[in-house]
Amino acid sequence: MATSTGVSARESKHASKPVVDLVAATVRFCGDSGDGMQLAGNQFTNTSALAGNDIATFPDFPAEIRAPRGTKAGVSGFQIHFAAKEIFTPGDQVDALVAMNPAALVTNLGDLVRGGILVVNKDAFDDKGLKQAGYEESPLEDRTLSAYQVFPVEITRLTRLAVEELGLGVKEADRCRNFYAMGLVFWLYDRSLEPTLRYIEAKFGKRPEVAEANRRALRAGYNYGETTEAFASQFRVHKAELAPGTYRNIMGNEATAYGLITASIRSKCELFLGSYPITPASDILHELSRHKNFNVRTFQAEDEIAAVTAAIGASFGGAMAVTTSSGPGIALKQEGIGLAVMTELPLLIINVQRGGPSTGLPTKTEQADLLQAVCGRNGECPVPVIAARSPADCFDVVQEAWRIATRYMTPVFVLSDGYIANGSEPWKIPDVKAMPPLEIKHPSPLTNGEEFHPYQRDERLARPWALPGTPGLMHRIGGLEKQDITGNVNYEPANHQHMVDLRARKVANIAQDIPPQVVSGPPRGKLLVLSWGGTYGACATAASEVQAQGGSVAHAHLRYLNPFPANLGEILHRYEKVLIPELNRGQLRLLVRGEFLVDAAGLNKVQGKPFSVFEVVDKINELLR
């Protein structure tokens, strides 16, 4: 997002250079995957969050684990948008770019705003580095960078100099370069070094010489900004107006894990996670396996199929059963999910979507698994689907999913994506005491010889969740078609029709048990933007920007994708046009057209990248013309 300049320059109380106040700024660190750019980004994020800014982040990982050093394939980046107002996206364009080598420069320069700040590690611009990036001549020497404020800094040499006295090897000294770069950017945005110094102590405390080297590099970078002539001014982004409370920074996968633990405690149901490592979902497995003191059982299965079927076994036993994965893994789980539909057992399936098809783009984001979630199984196999809209929203969404799963005895899909999973934002820590319990009922023992009917339904059409160990409730379930009420195997034509309809009705009824869809903007009129999942930030920001310019556009963001909220059809028909922006080829659009006969337009992008706000703004304006 372009820098919006606020107050005029004035003297800072402790620095000798003028300070320019900004409403918001976007910074990106990029370098080789071994350069520690994710760490730099995370530290800057944390520091900005602690300074009271609203933040949104976007880490961009290389596809290969160890692409050759200095190549374009190995470039890793981390973008932070921080602001003195509420923000919803990591920013379209970058105000300040730190490029640790030529490959990082060439792959990231396109996102730097004209006139933006460009800090490069001059030492990396040697013949080899330039050649790997495809530069014939050094961009520092010709006019390539004339549109930017370029600051070539000898980061390698100056870092080595800063740690010289500690007697580290060259390799170890060079590993401190990201701290030098951090220090410089911290100075540039008038940030405190304290949180990072605390981090260094916690992380490297056991290796005092490494800790000291990182500290020195950090301070050297900071002092470089302050003392050299290179930078004329500092920038400052004030606190954002956030609702009162205690905050922390949270990433999407972390929020998912916390939400699961919370749901487990609220429902007094011990958590069982069956999972198989896959990018970008593995961090949920990692996080949950660290919290065994919450009675969390994590099972790293032999494959995706075992992960889901083990979870189904645990659900039969009465656990809060969860399986986590990404697109290709979900494809493998679908037969198992069908079993959970047939046996009507509660189960959460969390899909952290990535670019597909097949192995696709493991580290890049996409929203192309919506149809897989809604329709991806054999037979008539309805599964409720809900999607998170931001990193912190994952916390609420998984709890809502568990509420639905247990009230309706059904598996529930939760859709997240790589962008949400690895992105972060400030999260207002909820009041644990104010959280209502999630009531779950299990039938009591039958001791008088009465017959137990495992497929006898309640008013919501949910069957009883009878747990092994309960006398008198012995029953057998399975994937074969069930007879209504008794649950015995049954192949009769009329029974099958009845059961298929029943399962469909049960899921459709959930629409009566979820909040009605809300719309921001005019309640009727020219255009409605309808979005779902991780595109929330870009769509909400775009709609409000156009509204601010006087455009008649409304925005509705769907959390519930199956079933849709009961009032959605009525909302859609109140607008002349409907625009559905998606990071796929129009999957929600297909469902909405099919269900509501609305001729919705699409804005579709599949580049492994989130929407920029301006892309959505342009499309809105086009449709309003």
Partner: protein
């Protein structure tokens, strides 16, 4: 939940569900079902604490016929379903019923990992060397050259030995029995139930419709004494109608010898089901008819920590060292800030 400690005495009939058994008349599955019902009352476990988990195939209909809890899951996945169940409910007695196709073909991966984890479940693999439910295709245990509907010119895949697989997967209890040898089968099932850790039992099961007589050599009254050999811990390997033949080790290889003529029992291979190294059990699992009599009984029964026990011990340990989970603490573990 009932905490009645004086268990009612159960009979085999108490374990019969209200469902009609639908296997083909004469199928070996009936006998296995009958032996299972016979031994269960002796375990002292209430019915509601038992769960039968199966996959897909003729054998996998088993849970429907048991008046216990049960899951008839999907093809090959029973060991995984059982893993999730047993890991989260260690108080339950869990049986897995599978077949040669279900357990060794589509579900081979799950079987392998369940065995190596040594979860406290009992796996009974009904081996009939054919796909019965899908009406007669060759299975991973069908012999080379087997002519079936899908192999009109004979099977060309080398067959698997189920017990060699189980031993290769570090199985702690590995055994074999035969559907018609009901006393022996009951004994093996009972020992499997009593073993702590994954018990793996292969049962030779006749599919009289699609592969009749596949194990006739081992079941025929006339021949079985010469074609099978009953393993007993600490005893020499003796077989034959007149118990005059034995198995001796010649270097690394077993050989058949006749007793008498200078060869005594002491020269024979003595069975040791508790041998820490699985080499002997593996060697026995490789003895196949017609070169050798095929061993039945317990090949291996050793002690090793169980997955479910270790998993739950880690939970207890985490609670001891870090205290019962506290959400407030969890949420505030890192840096926080206050907005007034």
């Amino acid at each position: 939940m009932s905490t009645d400690t004086s268990l009612p005495v159960l009979t085999p009939n108490d374990f019969a569900s209200d469902q009609d058994v639908r296997w083909c008349p004469g199928c070996g599955d009936y006998s296995i079902l009958a032996q299972m019902k016979k031994i269960l009352p002796s375990l002292g476990v209430p019915r509601e604490k038992m769960v039968f988990v199966s996959g897909i195939g003729c054998s996998s209909r088993f849970p429907y016929y048991m008046n216990t809890y049960g899951i008839h899951s999907i093809h090959g996945r029973a060991p995984a379903v059982a893993t999730g169940l047993k890991a989260s409910r260690p108080d339950l007695t869990v049986w897995v019923i599978t077949g040669d196709g279900d357990g060794l073909s589509i579900g081979g991966n799950h079987l392998m990992h369940a065995i190596r984890r040594n979860l406290d479940v009992n796996v009974v693999l009904f081996n009939n060397r054919i796909y019965g439910l899908t009406k007669g295709q060759y299975s991973p245990t069908s012999p080379l050259g087997k002519v079936t509907k899908s192999t009109p010119m004979g099977a060309i895949d080398n067959p698997l030995h189920p017990l060699s697989i189980a031993i290769g997967c570090e199985g702690t209890f590995v055994a074999r029995s035969i559907d018609t040898n009901i006393k022996h089968l009951g004994m093996v099932l009972k020992r499997a139930a009593e073993h702590r850790g994954t018990s793996f039992i292969e049962v030779y099961q006749n599919c009289n419709v699609f592969n009749d007589g596949a194990f006739e050599y081992a079941t025929d009254r006339e021949t079985k004494a010469d074609t099978t050999i009953e393993l007993e811990h600490g005893k020499p390997l003796i077989f034959g109608k007149n118990r005059d033949k034995g198995i001796r080790l010649n270097g690394m290889n077993p050989e058949i010898v006749e007793l008498g003529k200078g060869i005594s029992e002491d020269d024979l291979l003595f069975h040791d089901e508790q041998a820490p190294e699985p080499s002997l059990a593996y060697l026995l699992s490789r003895m196949t008819y017609p070169e050798f009599p095929e061993p039945i009984g317990v090949f291996r029964a050793v002690d090793r920590p169980m997955y479910d026990e270790l998993l739950n011990a880690q939970i207890a340990e985490a609670k001891k060292t870090r205290g019962e989970g506290d959400l407030n603490k969890l949420f505030r573990a890192g840096d926080t800030w206050v907005v007034e």
